[in-house]
C-alpha cells in the first residue's frame, strides 16, 4: 500500500519541488568588519514533490527558522529558496503551516467548521462549496460529529486535527509542520503519526516535518535531513528511509537506522 504512494510521489510534476540553494540567515544586523552571526548557513536541499521530508535536529538548531523561511514568514539573508520555478518571498496559500501550538494558531471564537472554512471564506468561496470542502476534510481527519464545537472543547490531539483540516481545505501543495505533535502525550502522538501518514498517502502532499525526536523522524519520513547544532547550523547528513508504511518501532531495520542516527548526535 505504501509503494503506491511512493510511486505517485516520484511521478508528480516538479511543481511541488522545493529548491534551497546556499541559504543563509542571520538575525543580528551585520556590523561592518564583523562576521555576521548566522542561524543557518549554506543550506542546500532539494525536496521532491509529494515527498515526506524530515528536518531532524536538536532544539535551537534553526529547523524552525528554515521552515519559516520556506513558509515565507521570515526573510532570508542570502541564497535562494524556490518552489518550482518561483522564488519564495512571502507566504502563499500553496504552502501551509501546521504550528506546534494549536491554541495559538486556531481561532478560539470560531467553531471547528468555521476554523476549517476560514481560508475558503477569505477567498470568497461560495457557502455551499465551503461546506462540501470542510465536510470532506473534517471527515478525513476524523473529526466528524465535532463540527460545531469550539477549540476549547477539544483535546490537544483533536485541536491538531482541526489545524490539519484547516490547512488541507485550502488544498496546498506543501505542508510545513513545525513539531506539530511535540505537545501531545505519547499515546496521542502515536495515533496522530499514523493518521498523518494515512492523510499524506490520501492527499499526495509534499510534507516538510520538523522534529527533534529520532523515532518520530524514522516512523514518518522518506528522507531525513540532519541539522547540526547551531549557530551556523547546516544539513550535515541525509538519510533515506525506504521502509514501507505503516512502520513499526520494533522493526529491526528501523532500530538499526535509529542507532546509526543516534550515534550521529552522540559524537
Amino acid at each position: 500500500m505504501n509503494s503506491n504512494a511512493n510511486a505517485n510521489a516520484n511521478a508528480l510534476p516538479q511543481s511541488g519541488t522545493i529548491r534551497i540553494e546556499n541559504l543563509r540567515k542571520s538575525f543580528a544586523a551585520a556590523h561592518p568588519g564583523h562576521e555576521p552571526h548566522y542561524i543557518i548557513k549554506d543550506i542546500n536541499l532539494t525536496i521532491r514533490g509529494g515527498e515526506f521530508f524530515i528536518l531532524l535536529g536538536p532544539s535551537g538548531c534553526g529547523k524552525s527558522t528554515l521552515l519559516n523561511i520556506v513558509a515565507g514568514f521570515i526573510g532570508k539573508t542570502e541564497g535562494k529558496v524556490a518552489l518550482g520555478e518561483k522564488e519564495i518571498v512571502r507566504p502563499g496559500s500553496e504552502r501551509a503551516m501546521v504550528f506546534q501550538q494549536a491554541d495559538s494558531s486556531l481561532f478560539p471564537w470560531l467553531t471547528v467548521r468555521e476554523n476549517v472554512e476560514f481560508g475558503l471564506r477569505m477567498r470568497k468561496v461560495p457557502k455551499a462549496e465551503r461546506r462540501r470542502t470542510s465536510d470532506h476534510y473534517i471527515r478525513l481527519v476524523g473529526l466528524a460529529g465535532h463540527e460545531d464545537k469550539f477549540p476549547k472543547e477539544l483535546s490537544g490531539g483533536m485541536k491538531q486535527r482541526v489545524q490539519l483540516a484547516r490547512v488541507l481545505s485550502n488544498d496546498p501543495a506543501i505542508l510545513l509542520m513545525d513539531e506539530p505533535f511535540g505537545a501531545l502525550d505519547a499515546m496521542t502522538r502515536r495515533t496522530m503519526q499514523k493518521e498523518l501518514i494515512r492523510i499524506w498517502q490520501e492527499t499526495n502532499k509534499t510534507v516538510i516535518f520538523v522534529t527533534h525526536d529520532i523515532q518520530e523522524a524514522l516512523l514518518l519520513g522518506q528522507r531525513i535531513g540532519i541539522m547540526s547544532v547551531g549557530p551556523s547550523s547546516q544539513i550535515t547528513d541525509l538519510y533515506d528511509n525506504p521502509l514501507p508504511y505503516p512502520r513499526n518501532v520494533t522493526e529491526p531495520k528501523l532500530i538499526e537506522l535509529l542507532d546509526t542516527i543516534q550515534s550521529h548526535f552522540d559524537e
Binding site: 501551509a96 503551516m97 471564537w109 477539544l154 486535527r161 496521542t188
Partner: protein, 282 residues
C-alpha cells in the same frame, strides 16, 4: 429553593448588614451630618414626589451613555490602528501617555469655555474620560494577538484588511470589552464633576445643590442613585457581554458567586453531546 438561598446570601444579607451598621452610626451622630437610612428614604420620597430625582437620574444617565458610547466608538479604531502599526504607535504613544494622566475633571472649565455650558461640553468631557482607557486596552489587546494566528491567516490567503477584520478584531474583543467597562466607571467620575460645576439638573447637581439647604439626606440619596446607576449599567454590560460576546472569550461577571455557578451550567451541553468521546479520538 437554592436560588432563594443564593440571593439571600449574596444580595440581601450583606445589605442588611450595611443597613444595620449605618443605622448604628447614625444613632450615634447628628442627623444633620449623618442621616439614618430612614431619613434618607424620606429624602428620596421627597425628591421623587415632583419627579425631580428621576429627571436627574435620567439626565446623568443620558450624558454618561452618549459620551461613553461616542468615546468608545472613536477609541476602538484608534486603538486597533495604534496596535497594528508600529510607526503610528511610536509617534502617538508619548502624547497619549502624557494626556491620559490629566483627569477629565481638570478640563471642566476649559470644555465649558470651548463647548458652552450645554450638553456638548458634558458629553465631550465624558468622551475624554472614556477614550484613553479604551484606546490603551484595545492597543494592548492587538499587541497580544499571537503571531501564529496572523501567520496562519496570511498563509491561508487573507489580505491585511481581512486579517484586521477576521483575526485582530475578534481576538481583541475581550480587551475592548474590559476597556469599555472600566471606561464606564470613569464616565461617572467625569459627569459628576461636570454637573457639580455647571448644570441645573443631574445627580451631580443634586448632590452639590443639597449643600445650599444643608440637606445631607439628599446627598445620601444622590450617592445611592449613583451606586445603583453604576451597578445596573455594569451588570447590564456584563450580561450583554456574556450573551453576545461569549464566543470571543468575554466571561467576566461581577459577582464571585456567579462565577462559581457557571461551570455547572456549562457542563450540561457538553455532557449531552457525549463528553465521553473526548480523549478517544486523540
Amino acid at each position: 429553593m437554592n436560588r432563594w438561598k443564593y440571593w439571600l446570601l449574596h444580595g440581601v444579607l450583606p445589605w442588611l448588614g450595611v443597613l444595620a451598621v449605618w443605622q448604628l452610626v447614625a444613632l450615634a451622630s447628628d442627623p444633620q451630618f449623618f442621616p439614618s437610612p430612614y431619613l434618607t428614604l424620606k429624602g428620596a420620597i421627597e425628591l421623587s414626589e415632583d419627579g425631580s430625582l428621576f429627571t436627574y437620574i435620567g439626565y446623568s444617565f443620558a450624558r454618561v451613555l452618549s459620551g461613553w458610547l461616542l468615546g468608545s466608538l472613536i477609541a476602538v479604531p484608534i486603538g486597533l490602528v495604534m496596535g497594528r502599526f508600529k510607526f503610528i504607535r511610536a509617534i502617538t504613544d508619548p502624547i497619549l501617555n502624557f494626556i491620559r494622566f490629566i483627569p477629565a475633571l481638570a478640563f471642566v472649565t476649559l470644555f465649558m469655555l470651548w463647548f458652552g455650558i450645554g450638553e456638548e461640553s458634558k458629553v465631550i468631557l465624558i468622551m475624554y474620560g472614556t477614550i484613553f482607557t479604551v484606546i490603551m486596552n484595545t492597543m494592548t489587546g492587538v499587541l497580544s494577538v499571537e503571531e501564529d494566528k496572523i501567520r496562519s491567516a496570511r498563509s491561508m490567503g487573507a489580505s491585511e484588511w481581512q486579517i484586521m477584520l477576521h483575526v485582530i478584531v475578534p481576538a481583541t474583543v475581550p480587551y475592548i470589552f474590559t476597556g469599555v467597562r472600566i471606561a464606564m466607571s470613569m464616565s461617572y467620575l467625569a459627569i459628576l464633576g461636570a454637573e457639580m460645576v455647571a448644570a441645573n439638573e443631574g445627580v451631580g447637581f443634586l448632590i452639590w445643590n443639597a449643600r445650599l439647604y444643608f440637606k445631607t439626606d439628599w446627598i445620601f440619596v444622590g450617592l445611592f442613585a449613583l451606586g445603583i446607576m453604576g451597578f445596573t449599567t455594569d451588570r447590564l454590560l456584563g450580561y450583554v457581554g456574556r450573551k453576545l460576546l461569549g464566543r470571543y472569550g468575554v466571561v467576566h461577571s461581577g459577582a464571585a458567586g456567579q462565577r462559581a455557578r457557571k461551570p455547572r451550567k456549562a457542563m450540561q451541553p457538553t455532557n449531552a453531546t457525549g463528553g465521553n468521546s473526548y480523549g478517544k479520538v486523540g
